[in-house]
Symmetry: C2
Subunit: 227 residues, 2 copies
């Protein structure tokens, strides 16, 4: 049975943009596991009924159906111990950086790119996305990102712990990447695929790390169409 990863994409199925789907596809590539990408779009919850879940990523790996990027990473290490490790037998250690990423990196990126996302989507997904996000945030998407030229400076300051770490070593994992890198970089791919807004100064060590991540696994992330 072919391994399959259900992934959120734009109208163009090559434009995979969910940060959580990126965590899982980078994790699969890290383990050296091939997979078929199954495009999935907002509102297509019926297509995930087999997984008893309503969100992607969903991984079908032989007889296993695994939902949630965190659980997928643990499954990949458990079911495929022969590949390079993602979590080094200590998933608890990676919880902190996942919460830092969600609250600092992803929340910060949302404030700068969310208004660029609708242009990527087909009309049905677009209508769902705009209505659900405007309800969640309590204002228009364009208002969310209106101050992004000022906010980006605060965002860059907030990346200090990431910057200092990748100044001292090539990856968060050390000399080689691990799931910590996949977690954080997934958010940068979300921005890269959906928006042309410049997040990082060229001379930022974080930008150098992004380039290294784009090169990994045969340039998988770099080959994905950017906005």
């Amino acid at each position: 049975m072919t391994r399959q990863l259900y992934e959120l994409c734009g109208a163009d199925p090559a434009r995979i943009f969910s940060p959580y789907c990126w965590r899982s596809r980078l994790a699969l590539a890290h383990k050296g596991l091939s997979f078929e990408s199954i495009p999935w779009r907002f509102t297509e919850t019926a297509r995930l009924a087999f997984a008893k879940h309503d969100k992607v990523p969903v991984l079908v790996d032989g007889a296993a159906v695994v939902v949630d990027s965190w659980t997928i990473a643990q499954h990949l290490d458990d079911a495929h111990p022969e590949g390079p490790s993602l979590l080094h037998g200590r998933p608890e250690t990676y919880r902190f950086i996942a919460h830092w990423t969600d609250s600092v990196v992803s929340a910060g990126i949302a404030r700068m790119i969310v208004s660029d996302i609708p242009a990527l989507l087909d009309p049905v997904a677009q209508a769902y996305f705009v209505a659900s996000r405007e309800k969640r945030y309590g204002r228009k998407l364009a208002e969310m990102t209106a101050d992004r030229d000022a906010f980006v400076l605060e965002f860059r300051r907030n990346l200090y712990p990431l910057r200092r770490t990748v100044e001292a070593q090539p990856f968060l994992g050390g000399a080689e990447p691990d799931y910590a890198d996949h977690i954080v970089f997934g958010s940068f791919m979300w921005a890269r695929v959906t928006s042309r807004f410049t997040l990082l100064a060229e001379d930022d060590a974080v930008a150098g790390w992004v380039e290294r991540m784009l090169d990994l696994y045969g340039g998988m992330a770099r080959a994905t169409p950017a906005a």
Copy 2:
């Protein structure tokens, strides 16, 4: 030869308050290694000449003289592999949380407690501390902490990744603490020993984690006099 840890203290040698010294003393306790605490005070650099260094912590462990808390943690795992692990053979993984702690936890705590530190010190150390910190920050210590009642709310929000992690598991290390816990908790001990200012709301999960840390290793941290 007795194992010795040179540690920054107040006029009272029991009032050990440097966050970096706390990292090392918690690491020693975690490994189950006994040590003699050697009180050290600001300006006593001549007493560290044997270590070719001018700051504490300094660890004397048999023939080894080890400076810098980061190097001490690695030394303890390498030289004493029989004790519980601090870094699980992956020190690179702990760099990120060290930089997060320095920039978010310690920098935030400094803005709330630095003006309380001089009262802890003997006159010589006090004069040095006030002059050097006012030069570093470019203003009076009392001005640094003047807005702390407002700033503490921002500080608590910034602890979000720590809070979410210790809501899901007892320690940053998982079911048991590891050096990630020592890194972050060192800063909370710095505040506890030097200031009566309340950092955390009582119902904050971070406060529950602080209580668990105070109980570890026979209540070593709890037994240290608080401000």
